[in-house]
Amino acid sequence: MTLNIFYFLSFLAVLSALMVVFSRNPVYSVLYLIITFFTIAGHYVLLNAQFLAVVHIIVYAGAIMVLFLYVIMLLNLNRESEPQKSSLLKVAATICAGLLMIVLVGSLKGAENILQADNGATDIGLVKNLGKILFDEFLLPFEITSLLLLAAMVGAVMLGKSEKANDTI
């Protein structure tokens, strides 16, 4: 049963990831990317990492994708006339990605041997356990993350501010 759900989610994730790359309209790319993110959240639920599944949906589908959609609408890019690379470059890109995939699979082969046999019920992905570790072992990185987000916010506002008063975007 879970294996069937895994196959379905994986198929959907890979298919919509391919559609992100190959669809001509950027708005469609964003919508397919949202499907990919929801399937990835489903994988997290399947792995019993419920906290990360919820955070993933909130951060990616809720914040980042809205940002992408706003920028695409703001720049008025929802048309299908963007410059394409030459077909030689496209073939080269496909070959490069395929070779990278072969290399990664080859290098990760045998990773299942590092797993020990003793595997009880893993409930480390629940909010209770993860919160204990996050605010105990990883307290300093957690606080530094807030600094990073503050710096990113200040940088985004500084970069996005227009110097001229009559700019439309």
Binding site: H43, Y60, I64, L75, E82, T94, A152, G155, I169
Partner: protein, 105 residues
């Protein structure tokens, strides 16, 4: 070998590698800078899947905390990156990444 969901870890490795390669393909294949950003997000998520899978299979919560930090960094990266994109669009009226070689002057 397998925790409660009976899925071998190889399957997760295959899925993550496939998604990562599709992300790399998108970065190399497209010229629209926004699509390139989306493919970078795809690559980050492929790594996140593998981290959560190994963390869950090895019963070690540090991997999931790292995934949490990666999400925060991804959010910061997208905010700054899209602000840079809007700024270059304001100056050049295009999101073609080939136009960005003007940065070298």
């Amino acid at each position: 070998m397998q925790p409660q969901n009976h899925i071998p870890i190889d399957y997760y490795i295959w899925l993550a590698v496939t998604l990562f390669s599709i992300g790399v393909l998108g970065v190399l294949y497209r010229r629209n800078a926004i699509i390139v950003f989306m493919c970078i997000e795809l690559m980050l998520n492929a790594v996140n899947i593998l981290m959560v899978a190994f963390s869950s299979y090895l019963n070690d919560a540090a991997g999931q905390v790292f995934v949490f930090f990666i999400m925060a960094v991804a959010a910061a990266e997208v905010a700054v990156g899209l602000a840079i994109l809007v700024m270059t669009f304001r100056n050049t009226k295009t999101t073609d990444i080939n136009i960005l070689n003007r940065l070298k002057w």
